[in-house]
Structure formats: structure tokens, C-alpha cells
Symmetry: D2
Subunit: 305 residues, 4 copies
């Protein structure tokens, strides 16, 4: 359970006092504000604030394109047009602020998305909580034998048990020593900025993360993708649901053009034209490498999830 009774009470208090505003309001997002959506064993995602809604995207586009947008009949059509033609600035007019609790090794992937604002809990100032990510047995996967950065079958039997035991006891021992190094009971107590180095990267940290919708979509395209590491993908999946409630038209366009779409190379398009004309094409005649050909076949064969 990620939240204490005190935290739940605080969230309810924040939700109890609506105030009038003249700003754009997204009903879908209001229903999520402050509430914690649990992720992994101790993590969560909470919406702290947001700016704008689907109309704000349309409004910004109409400022840019003026009378030029009048022929697009409705907001949904305009938003789909903007997404299809890679117009990024209207989507930048929406902004969201999330409170996220996540393991450090996930945070290290996440922070690589530079176009965002972050306030992270500082282990120089404060003591870390004793909470570690321990994978559920069904997520304890072997190294993929075909993909250098992927997972294969789930570990079983003694190997699985041994791994879980190590993850738990190593984390516990490291934290115990962290705690004992900091102690000022009968000793000086090591500086927090030093003691923290003894903690493993599955310990949970937390941060406020603020990002505009365009950059959030970029994050989600990479991190909600089937090839992303499971432990960050579950955060991206939760955020997808929040965004779907916040800006349903923009999220629909994003799903169709980005998540469900595919980019084909000049070579792949040439193949496709031949295939549609009834010609046979092979990897050899395509000019593609084996890897490219395999990926091209995958795009054509089956519905992308």
C-alpha cells in the first residue's frame, strides 16, 4: 500500500474545497486531482495541477493560422490535422504537473527526457524511506537471448527464489547500514549526502514532474511502447489513462497517429508499392537488412498494440 492514512486524509482535504476559476477546466482531469494511482509495489502517480484542455489546443492553433483554420469543421478534425502534420506548438499550450514515486533506476531513465521541470526529493537534505521495489514473481524475467535490451521467459523454481531473496536481503542490509551510519546515537553520524551512496537503485524516490503535452506525448510514445522496460512502462500506462481523461481528442489522435502508427522508410514504401502492384518482394530484392525486413514484416502482418 503506497499511501498512509495521513496521506489519504490530506488528499481528501485537498479535494474537499473546490474554488471558482475563470480558467479552462477539464472535468475529466478534475476527477483525478491529488488522487494516487498505484504503480508497482510502492509507487504512485498523482496529478497535482494542469493547464488547458482540448479547447486550449484548438484556440492556440486558431491564433496561429487565423482564418486558415475555418475550413476545418470541428475541433476533433483540427486536432487530428495538427497531430498528423507534426504541428507541435499547439500541444505545448497544455501543461501537467505530476507527483511520482518511483525506484531510482526508473528515475534515471525518466530524467533523460530533458524538456520538463523536476523537483526531486533530496537525500542530501532528508532521510530516504525504507521502501524498495521487489518485482512480482511474474515479472522476474530472464535476459532475452535475441534482444540485447529485452526480457525472455519468467524465472522459475530455485533460481527465482534465490533472486528474490537476494534482492530483499541486500536492500534490507544496505538500508540498515544506511540508517546506522546516519545515527547520532553515541556517535557523530555520517553526512546524509555520503550515507545515501550505500542504497541500491531499487529504493524509491519521488518528484514533482511538470511537462507540456507535446513533450509528454513524446515520453509516452517511447515509454508506453512494447519495447520499453516494464518498470517504466507501467508508469507510462497510468499516465496514458490520465491524459485520455484530460484531453480526450488529443489523446485519440495520439493513439491513432503515434502509438498505433508506424514510420516506413523510402525502401519500405518502394516495396509496398510493388507488393500492391502484385509483384513479389524478398528481403534480398528489397535492399533492407535482415533486421529492417523483419520489422517491416511485423508492421504488415499484424495489428500493432
Amino acid at each position: 500500500m503506497a499511501l498512509t492514512p495521513e496521506q489519504l486524509a490530506e488528499i481528501e482535504a485537498q479535494r474537499a474545497t473546490p474554488r471558482p476559476t475563470l480558467r479552462a477546466v477539464s472535468e475529466g482531469m478534475e476527477s483525478h486531482l491529488y488522487r494516487a494511482h498505484t504503480v508497482l509495489d510502492h509507487g504512485f502517480v498523482r496529478v497535482i495541477d494542469y493547464m488547458g484542455d482540448d479547447s486550449a489546443i484548438v484556440q492556440a492553433a486558431r491564433v496561429s493560422y487565423g482564418a486558415g483554420t475555418k475550413h476545418v469543421q470541428d475541433d476533433a478534425g483540427l486536432i487530428r490535422y495538427l497531430m498528423r502534420h507534426w504541428h507541435s506548438t499547439p500541444f505545448e499550450m497544455c501543461e501537467v504537473k505530476l507527483h511520482v514515486k518511483l525506484p531510482i533506476f526508473v528515475a534515471r531513465q525518466w530524467i533523460r527526457h530533458r524538456t520538463a521541470n523536476v523537483n526531486e526529493y533530496s537525500a542530501r537534505y532528508s532521510v530516504m524511506d525504507r521502501e524498495f521495489y521487489i518485482p512480482a514473481p511474474e515479472h522476474l524475467a530472464a535476459q532475452s537471448t535475441i534482444n540485447n535490451q529485452g526480457r525472455g521467459a519468467v524465472l522459475t523454481g530455485e533460481e527465482a527464489a534465490r533472486v528474490l531473496e537476494w534482492l530483499k536481503t541486500d536492500a534490507a542490509r544496505c538500508y540498515d547500514h544506511y540508517h546506522d551510519m546516519l545515527s547520532q546515537d553515541g556517535q557523530q553520524g555520517l553526512a546524509r549526502e555520503l550515507a545515501r551512496m550505500n542504497l541500491p537503485t531499487n529504493i524509491y524516490t519521488q518528484w514533482y514532474w511538470k511537462v507540456d503535452l507535446h513533450n509528454l506525448f513524446h515520453f509516452l510514445r517511447l515509454r508506453a511502447d512494447a519495447h520499453a522496460q516494464y518498470e517504466i512502462r507501467v508508469y507510462a500506462d497510468v499516465i496514458c489513462k490520465l491524459v485520455a481523461d484530460w484531453v480526450p481528442l488529443a489523446f485519440g489522435a495520439f493513439e491513432d497517429y503515434r502509438m498505433g502508427g508506424a514510420t516506413l522508410s523510402a525502401k519500405a514504401l518502394e516495396c509496398l508499392r510493388k507488393m500492391l502492384a502484385g509483384q513479389a518482394v524478398t528481403q534480398e530484392s528489397s535492399g533492407m537488412s535482415r533486421g529492417e525486413w523483419r520489422e517491416f514484416q511485423a508492421v504488415l502482418a499484424t495489428s500493432d498494440t
Copy 2:
């Protein structure tokens, strides 16, 4: 007059319908929403949306510093501490979206601040309005004889009259030809993306500009400064007033530490220590250049505005 009756009616309609929200609300900013603050002869600044308030800055800082912030007694003290020690990320947690109408030569300075989101009216899609910035007589200044990028005395007499006449008639003629080139009345009509090149840079454009508070303060420090060009400074001055109503504690700290403060070099500090110890210091003995010494004297002599 910058606004038509239709625009005023639209603003009143937007202001007439408050809706409940659970987000942070700044009463001071709500009073400004959508209203146009006139700048120069045809320009304006309007607040379209905002995220956060003084409390949001404090809240983000407390996430970062945890128990480490408890010794700071109140929000004002914490915000002043953050500003004094160049902590930028808590201020990034606030965001504002403005609608600005401004001459192109001002927009070209403004856009150099890259960390912001912009949707500008496009003269490829739409026809520009016939509105030009013509300086008021008291702002028609001569080139400074001592500062390469500054202004000197106000022009007078025939010279002033001649300049104003040229500015007005050249703008009018360029716009007339722009209009006539576009016309499809008895001719093909030049492409908008080409015709616009005939317009002078004192024509008004407009944009939505969205920026976080940290980067806005950086903009204001440079553009509300006495050395900024008058035509952008008046926009910065209006925005200062809006920010003072939005986040009064943060703006107070900004005024004290940034706008009213000064940065002294190692050499200048060394001089200061000598002067406080009763020693005489001259430009020669200071190791400063003439320009540096003059600026140093100015900091010490008089209250900075």
C-alpha cells in the same frame, strides 16, 4: 484603441462563467484573466491561463528538501531563501500563458528567449491587420552618443516631424501594396507567404506565449531593466504588475534580489573591503577598466530602480 467591441464582448463572456476547480487558485491572477492591458499604441498583454501560486513554489521546495525545510518559519522566508540561493526548479513549477500583440521588431527580440512555448499568428495562412507602431513624440529619441545601443535626447522640430511622417507614410504605402498584391480582383493574387515580405517590422503581430516563472523572471530581469529598449520594456513592465498580483511573495523576492540587486566582481568586492576599512581606492589601483569602474561607482552611489 487595441480592442474592438466584439473582442471586449468576448472577454466579458469568458469572464462571466466561473467554474469550480480543485487546483491552486490565485485570486490576484483571476482578476486579470482575459482582460487586455494596453501597451504602446496598438499592443496588449492578456493573461489566458496560469498554473500555481506562491504556495505551489513552497510545496515543490518541500518535496525536494523534505524535513530540511522545516526550520524556515514561513512561506515568505522560504521563497526568499530559494531566490537568494539561485534555486530555480521550485519557480519552474508555476506557469503562465499570455496573449501578446506586439510589433515585429519587438517580437524578434522577445523570441530570443528560447525556453518558452509560442504560437504566433501566421502570415502564410492569414492576412495581417493594418496596424503599425508609430512612436509617441516623447519616445522619438536620437541615437545616444555614448552608448552604442542606447538613446539620447528626444528629437524635436522639423526632424521629429519628418521622421514621424516617413514612418507613417512608408508603413501605409507598404501595406497598400501588400493588400493590392494579395487581391484576387481581376488578377491571380500573390501568395500570402510572399506578399508579407513587403511589410515593415513595425507592423503588429500577435502570439500566445507560455513560460514558467523561473524563465519569466529571467526575461523580466533583462527586459524590465533600464537598459532594455523602451518598446520591449513597456511589455515587461506590464507583465511585472501581473506577476506581482499572481505570486506576490515570489515577486517581492525577485524585486529585492534580482531587479534591485547587483552582482559585484571579485575585484569590486576587494575594493569594497578596502573602502570599508577606510582606504582610498582609485580606478587605477582597483584593477578595473574605466567601464567597470564607472558601473561600480554607479552601484554604490545611488539607489537602483
Copy 3:
């Protein structure tokens, strides 16, 4: 002619003195250094400096992926893999600095690409040169009747002559008055920062523009595209040639996956699968809008330039 004899002499002097370096060197780029590639009637692009080459991309990728990159047989294969899977950071390891002379209305489009460093000639400090972009007759196009931001047929006859005459005489008159306002001959002389507002946006400015290869590719994908305005596309085309000589492997991958490729939506992929299975698909049954369907047909019908 864009360059004076003095400028040509200066370029030759810069090119006359090679010095030894231990850094990565791109022979292809060395041949371009400092030389001006003419664009439009008075513009140019010059390479001032560069960092890295194809090997630098590979080297950075191997730092990231370590032993994981060993199975890719050669540099070209690895670079194509990185481009195909949207790995952006290895391409960011190359950097280029260009000196560009361009009309202000082109500069205003260009500057919207924010992830770059810019030093522009300042009309507050210095006097602008008397050089304006006047389109060649074959580029004097009418407004497109089907595309809000496009061009149609070339103007002819009296209309073309009238437009050219206006562009020339308006620019000349505006510049004459600019010059006369600045004059300190028998008058005070208007401040440069004010006088510049009388200049039309087809006057030439210049800047140093420094950008990493990833962001440069993003710029080129948008601005070397057939839908980009001709006057910026010619700059992008020249830069494409420079990049092809600088990092030939990366540029080849860019051409195949970005310039020559296309992104298909989930709906379009579904159609494609049906078509390859021999089923008939129409716009109605596709779920696409008329615009989407037209673009989809265009991708399938013909080789994209």
C-alpha cells in the same frame, strides 16, 4: 553577388593555414570551411566550424550500449539502426556552426527551432546593409487556391511586373528613409533601435547558427520538405549537401528513414493490411477523413521526393 572581394580574400586567408589537430576530422567538411554557398539573390551559407564525424556517432553509441553493439557488423549498419529506432543522443554528439545571410521573414521561421545557439547581427548596435530579397520571376507565385499556406501558378504579365516594381521601390524608399533618419548630418539622427522599424522583412540579416546534428536533421526534415516555403527550402537544400559531405553515413540514413519515409496511422496500416490481402478499401470504409485519405493515396501512388 553575395561576397565582396574583401570577403573573398578573407576566406582564402582563413583557408590558407591548416593547423594540426588531434580531434576527429571530416575531410568532406574541411573542403567547405568558410566558403560561401550562395542562396537566393544575396544570401549565403558558410560552415564556420564543426565537431565530430560519422565515427563520433558510432563511438558515442558504443559508450552507451557497450558490448551490446558488437553484433552490428559495421558503422553504416549501426548508424542506420540508431536512426530507425529513433535513438537521438548519438547524433547530438556532432555539432556544426554556420554563418547564414538570409531575409528577415525567413529568419523568423528559422528561429522557431529553439534548440540551437544564435548570434544575430544587431540593428540596435549597427546599421543594416542595403540588400533586399527580390524574388526571381519564376518564383513569383500566386496564392494556392487549395492550400492555405501554399503557392499556385507563377504570376505573369502586368501583374508580375507590378509586384516586382512595388517590392523594389518600396524597399528602396524605406531604406532611403532609414538612412536619412539615421543621418547626423545637420540633425540629431534617430536612434538605430528605432529607425530599423521602417525596414521591410525582405531585408537581409545574418547570424551565426550552431546546432547539433539531431536537431539539424529535425530542421531539415521540416524545411527541406516539399511543403516548406521555397525561400527557406533553398537554405535547407544547401545545408543538406553540406551534411552529406560531413557525415555521409548519417545523412544516408536520414534520407532513407526521414526524408524519403512516411508515417502511417493505425487506420492507414489497417487499410494496408486489407489491401495486401486483396480486399477493396474506400475512403468511407477506411475511417479516414477526406484529407487523410488523399495523403494516404499519395504515399502509396508515387515515389516521394
Copy 4:
């Protein structure tokens, strides 16, 4: 020892083959290229590439300010002027690429500087090396009792021995288990992307880090500061030395105006004017908080390092 004989041989090979270039060359930086500067117990900083030198800063400024820069007599004076007046873009025209090996807890601070390009060794693709930061006894400091994020006296005796023993044995045990989880000897072998979570944050990672000089100065001002954590400050100190050899004029200006300078608030300047006029000022009469007053006194009392 941070480098293997193989690495040293590779560095010597890279340094053995100078090639001619027409680009700006900094002799000072050439002498550092590829060589590893040892930091902490296993870390290093190596210059991989650079763009520009002091002249490149001057050259970019002269493009911007044109004839306006002619009155500044020499390059040093112009660079000092640019630094003093917060002109950032000319300094952005220089770029450097470093190869850095550093503990993860240091990397997590470092990465918060977002305006840079990074390629980090990926523990999803590859296996981490068995190298951990263990502080030297003289850097094993107690928590400061007055500064929430600072260090106090050095630990001594049994407490110091106990801390060092824990740091060493916990790191060793975590790594042993990491290694054993990955093993495919008689078992499936855990996925690398999961096993890495068992490693403590004092393990060494490495990355290529590319940044422009303006943003590097910002990094150095914060991280070479006396209040920065020792373990990142030693990296900043090494980089300061490299920059001093690369762009000596710019680094000199940086030392005088940034590292050795101080920013005073409006209140502090008011106090100073009174003090110079011979009036007594106290904390109470200054309007400053106790913390501000203490910092103000520190600036006046002693030479800042």
C-alpha cells in the same frame, strides 16, 4: 588506478596522429585531448572533442554587434564586457565533449543540468564493472549540525572504520549477487535491466557529456562552489583547469565575475551605501533575515575562494 594498460595504449594511439584542419585550434586544449584526469578513486575526466576558442567568442560577438564592438580595444576587454553584462550567446559558440567516469549518486546530481547532450553507458545492454567509490578517510565527514545539506568534522576511530567496512562489504556483496543473478551457468540468468537494481549508487558509470561554454560555466559556478558536495566538486575543479587551458580569457572573466563575485540584494546595497557614508547598520535595521545578514557579513569580511 582508473585506466588499464589497454586504455592507455589506445589514448596514446589517438594522440599519435595529428591531422590538418582549417578550424579554430586551441593549443591548450590539444594538449589534454583523450588524456584521462583522475578524479576520486576510480573516476576520470577526458576531453574527447572541442569546438572554438577565445577568438570564436569574439568573432560571434562581432557578428552580433558589428561596428559597435570596435571601440573595445582588445579581445580580453570584449570578453570581460560580455561576461559582465550577461551576454550569453557568444559563449554558447564554444562547445566541449567530455568522457566522464563517475559514481551514480554524482551522476544523478550532474544530470539535473538539462542543457547538455549525454550518452550514458547502459546497464540494460551491458554489464556494469565492479568499481565503487569508497571515500578516503579524510573525506568521511559527519553531518553538519548547522547546515542541512553540509558536512561537519571528519569521522574518527571505530565509527570511521565501521562506516568504511560497511560501504566496502555491502558494495561487494551486492555486486557478487548482481553477477550471480546474471550468470547463465546452469540457470536462465536474470535480465540485465532487472539485475542492475541491486547495485548501490556508489558504483561507477560513465558517459559522454557535451555542453556549450555558457552552460558549462553555469554548471561550474554551482558545482565548483564551496557549498557543492565534495564528490561532484572535484570533477568541477578538474574541468575548471581544462577550461582555463582551452579559453584562458573567458575563464579569467568567469573567475572574476562569477566564481569570485557575489550578488547583493537591494537591501544589502542600501546597507552598503550607509556603511560607506559612515553610518552604523545592524541586522535589525537592515531589514534582512538572520541568514541573509550572516551571508552579507561573510561577503564583506573575507576574500571569497
